[in-house]
Point group: C2
Chain length 548, copies 2
């Protein structure tokens, strides 16, 4: 049943009925000490070292700061965790363990003593778009990690611990001599979480940030409120969550948000807030029904729709709320949504129609443009907007907004957005709420947004595709299943946005399968996340993880 | 994005563009104190009682036994857990809580004092096919639960705690005056787990049994070994798991199995072992390669295939192993598999062909029949076989075996099996490894195996469809995600196999949606499982659970 098979001789299919041979054991045995996402340049040697936690140190030879110190503590813990597995195996078979197992192996080079970390510039306070994530790593008895920025150092430390692996008997921790030069291909590598359809606990959001760090992702796009609930606790408008949250305790306080933002910063992750307007705002209206539009059908009031763009109080509330939120998120970008606006509700409302006539608007999309043009300046000069694709599609003038593509998997839309001079974040192929029976990360892995643009569109600037996001809409996930739903599927997106371009994939959208090593590396990476407390699900079929 | 909508006026679609109205809050607000699966007969009154854990007792007025005593302890804990939620809410708002909230409500009847449990016959030691699960429950200040058997009492106690619900302010636990007469429609209500593709820890199997009890399911079909790994630790053949398990610790010892079987018995659940032969046995061959068939392609050995039916050692090993296993499982049925046998491997092997010629067999399916005919008597007189559908399809004579249907969702196959005089277990529509993006329990809920048989086949005995099983094949689930993958999707199957037939569903296979109350009840039931420690995923879209 669903058995996975190896067909030995493809040719034989033509000659006689082929025989399906199944091998016992995991479908894709995990690699040992391979890095996810794959580094840009890596030379790995056969020589290797043993790491003994008590005889190993991280040392700092350049700039330092709180972020680096907390990372050093964190990665000591990762190393100790891996070593505990080894120690458990030693204890279990203590009698049978010969000492000095590796004496006879010519490749064995003794113990690794330290990782010297050298950051050449003072630490920045917060990660941001276009942050510098370049690092150099050399692994030998005295290893070195160097970077211009704290962010590069964080990425390099993650790589260092991923190079560690358990010996075949699980009794020792090894690392191979390795040289790495590494940097991301796309500057914006994000994961969207939705805390309105289901509330996600703060501890689960922190766990998500742990997993993002393991995948070198750098943007948590926090779709914090939506139609169903308003869990953001505003100081200025406390009734928004008091009445609009699912329960009075299913909220995010100022302290919660500070904690999340700082925790993310320590891992080189930006937290990008989204307050989606003017649609997807039904929960705002529990406390403030007047800011929503009344929708009519055959002269009868049938309910509340998107925000009412004809009323000043709408803009007043949004403006004051945005200002408060900007204090909490040290982030230059602000996602104002703009998707799926129910224009036909506006069309049904006599007062809105009157307002349109008074302002010389002929179509409701003009009204959408009017609304967005009033909203975006409310962000102030230091903040830049990100909008969902529709806002561009509907012809709303957008100046320097970044457009997030979620509906179109074809390149025409992308080219139009780029030609209009916008930067672009791609998500359309990476909706995690669309499920398949297993292995659907493979489809994610086939997509590379810049490769989607055919070369006859040479005039567009591919660098304006700044990255992408995997989107975990919250309809059918909550604290109970979000981790295993998101990971390792999102790891596929993380690697596509970080690692070297696969040449043969150009125009090969949805045609080429990932190279074989990707399957084996993803097995190791899933177990690695599992060992570090993230409940990543099995990526590829039969197999197992060795954990504590 | 995937937003779930209420369209108010369906007619208006024709007249003008319809407006999508979204309401804030959960998509399907949960019911309060509704039972899952729905009882056969239930009268629920508006009058209600408060349950105070310290002032409430389970009392026994009929037969008693260890199983009943342990159930009473278990359900005290469930009640305490529910009350802790109430207590937490009282503490949080202590200042504002008026005393004697319900004094003015004419429906409020004071406290419920006890549930008197009366079992009329001595407890059976083990659950079995056709076990008696009938019970009567009357809820009032002094409530009564009566049944002929311990199994009926267990089902009734589960129903009793499911009738409890939290008040609207979550500060009290209530129960309505209710009369219930209840019994299952199908005697065999199972869940298959596969511990070969991924190892499932003992504690997770126990948790699965907890969840099954909450859904009144009574068979854990344990597909314990398969091609990939052999986690069953045999006393007679220890090398099977020593070499065939994923790791030496990913095994089930005799003690583990005893623990699981006893834990299941205490919950009225049979544990049905499956040792699938002659295919799906590659992991047996790690230690005993000689019992497997060598497969050839163009005169070249390409690997090992199904068991070698020409060798006596094959039957000797199986016979001795089956005997050992039967000691561990106090269960009259034994699943011997028989699915997906790679007949073309047999056909490729010269020795097998010789053996067939010597025994006057012309087709490899004759050889399959020969094999099954040798295997089934090895079970002895006290054990009855269950086989997968292919064994029947291939014309293997089967006497009194139960046939499990997994390939055919059409009624013709079912009718053939029934006409041949076999009992039947249905699984084809209930493969939990086939995923959809959410709400796929709805498709499970549309299926009722007995209703699949058109009435012009009046001669078949519908009672021979003894039940069904949801099948959780293990390719892409392990300890990390099995609970949220299985629950509450399997709850849909549980209700179809227990609750009254839905009349309008006859011939309505895949056409009728479940009645609305089912959506709301499943919300409550998922949260109930969540509160009792089972990580059931959200069934229906936006919503929330109130837990400790």
């Amino acid at each position: 049943m669903l058995r996975h098979v190896i067909i030995f001789n493809a040719l034989s299919v033509i000659l006689v009925a082929s025989i399906i041979i199944v091998e016992p054991g995991p479908k894709y045995p995990p690699t040992k000490g391979e890095v996810w996402p794959k580094p840009q340049q890596q030379i790995k040697r056969d020589t290797y070292y043993k790491l003994r936690p008590l005889a190993f140190n991280f040392t700092v030879s350049g700039e330092t700061c709180h972020i680096l110190k907390s990372a050093i503590n964190r990665y000591y813990n990762v190393i100790r965790g891996l070593h505990r597995i080894a120690w458990n195996h030693i204890k279990k078979h203590l009698k049978h363990t010969p000492k000095h197992t590796n004496v006879t192996d010519v490749n064995f080079q003794g113990s690794i003593k330290e990782l010297q970390i050298k950051i050449r510039s003072p630490c920045e306070e917060h990660p941001q778009m276009d942050m510098d994530e370049v690092y150099n790593l050399n692994v030998s008895a005295v290893s070195t990690l160097s970077s211009d920025s704290i962010w590069g150092a964080l990425r390099g430390m993650e790589t260092f611990v991923q190079l560690l692996y358990l010996s075949d008997d699980y009794k020792a921790v090894f690392i191979n001599a390795t040289d790495i030069v590494d940097y991301p291909r796309y500057p914006h590598r994000g994961l969207l979480i939705d805390t309105s359809r289901h509330y996600i606990s703060v501890s689960n959001i922190l766990k998500t940030l742990d997993a993002m760090e393991m995948n070198k992702m750098n943007v948590l796009h926090w779709h914090i409120v939506d139609d169903q609930s308003f869990p953001y606790q505003s100081e200025k408008f406390p009734q928004l969550s008091a009445q609009g949250a699912y329960t009075p305790s299913m909220i995010y306080t100022k302290n919660n948000i500070n904690h999340i933002v700082n925790y993310a910063r320590d891992r080189g992750i930006r937290v990008l807030p989204e307050f989606d307007v003017p649609g997807h705002t039904r929960s705002w209206g529990v406390a403030y029904p007047k800011i929503l539009t009344k929708c009519y059908q055959l002269d009868e009031l049938i309910g509340l729709g998107p925000m009412d763009p004809s009323k000043n109080i709408t803009y007043k509330l949004i403006g004051e709320l945005f200002q408060e939120i900007q204090q909490l998120f040290p982030e230059k970008y602000f996602h104002v949504g703009g998707d799926e606006v129910e224009l036909s509700c506006w069309e049904s409302n006599p007062e809105i129609l009157m307002f349109m006539r008074d302002n010389n608007m002929t179509k409701t999309s003009d009204l959408h443009a009017y609304f967005m043009n009033k909203i975006i300046p409310l962000l102030g000069e230091n903040s830049k907007p990100i909008v969902w694709q529709e806002v561009f599609d509907e012809g709303v003038p957008l100046r320097d907004a970044i457009v997030q593509v979620w509906k179109s998997e074809d390149y025409n839309t992308l080219v139009q957005i780029l030609k209009a001079g916008h930067k672009l974040i791609y998500s359309a192929s990476w909706y995690l709420d669309h499920l398949q029976s297993g292995g659907d990360w493979i489809d994610y892995y086939k997509v590379d947004p810049r490769q989607m643009i055919p070369s006859f569109h040479a005039k567009v600037n591919l660098d304006d595709i700044v990255g992408g996001e995997a989107c975990m809409w919250g309809e059918v996930v909550d604290d109970r299943n979000i981790q295993s739903r998101v990971w390792p599927r999102t790891s596929a997106v993380a690697e596509k946005l970080w690692s070297p371009e696969l040449q043969h994939h150009r125009y090969g959208y949805y045609s080429y399968n990932p190279p074989q090593d990707v399957f084996h590396r993803l097995e190791e990476h899933s177990c690695r996340m599992n060992r570090r407390g993230v409940y990543a699900q099995p990526p590829n079929g039969p197999g197992f993880c060795v954990t504590e």
